[in-house]
Amino acid sequence: MRLATRVWHPVTIAGCLAALSLLVPLPWFFLGATAGFATSGSV
């Protein structure tokens, strides 16, 4: 699997957002970021 395919995999992005929400004290930013990324996918 190519590196870009791993790095930009939707699970990797969602996992990074979840982990950063725990580690970085910017709750309002990650509240928005997780909600924004959640708009991806099927309707």
Binding site: A14, W28, G32, T34, A35, G36, A38
Partner: protein, 173 residues
């Protein structure tokens, strides 16, 4: 490259515009009750929306089920994607497959201060941009969407976990 950046810039501007609009409207609604009441209203709403996100509950949520029309591209390689991104970023002219944007909107309207609303707006715009960026850098054949659908339950769980932690911290501090 230029089109992608202007699209993402549009997403950011659109999300910021909605966040500011929600803050303005919410500042009037908040006058109806003290903050302690709004805190519990938000806790209740977050629980309901998270349950909906996992399919435990089913109820209608407002969304404008229309796509941005193709003719925005007539504005050129920079302003076309910018307008496209802006309209998508506002979330007022798009499909919304998740309840988290509604939850974020309630948080901004009923709890955020000006700086918090800006941060949430920027976060929302970048979160949406991550979809476009990820899709383009993952592969050339739209398999990113297939990967998303394949792992949708795990992705939703991760996003809800991050959202829940952020919301709890924002409500407490």
């Amino acid at each position: 490259m230029g089109a992608r950046w202007s699209f993402c810039g549009g997403l950011l501007l659109g999300a910021l515009t909605t966040a500011m609009g929600l803050l303005l409207a919410g500042s009037l609604i908040r006058l109806a009750a003290p903050p302690a009441v709004w805190r519990w209203v938000l806790v209740g709403a977050m629980v309901l929306l998270v349950l909906r996100e996992f399919g435990v509950l089913r109820f209608w949520l407002p969304q404008n089920k229309r796509l941005v029309p193709e003719h925005v591209h007539r504005h050129g390689r920079v302003f076309g994607p910018l307008q496209f991104g802006f309209e998508m970023g506002t979330s007022l002219r798009t499909y919304t497959p998740s309840a988290l944007p509604h939850a974020a909107a309630l948080m901004i309207a009923l709890w955020a201060g000006p700086l918090a609303a800006v941060l949430a707006g920027v976060g929302f715009g970048l979160g949406r941009s991550a979809m476009t960026t990820g899709n383009l850098l993952y592969s050339d054949d739209n398999t990113w969407d297939l990967a998303f659908i394949e792992h949708e339950r795990l992705i939703r769980a991760l996003l809800v976990a991050g959202f829940a932690v952020s919301t709890a911290v924002a409500l407490v501090f």
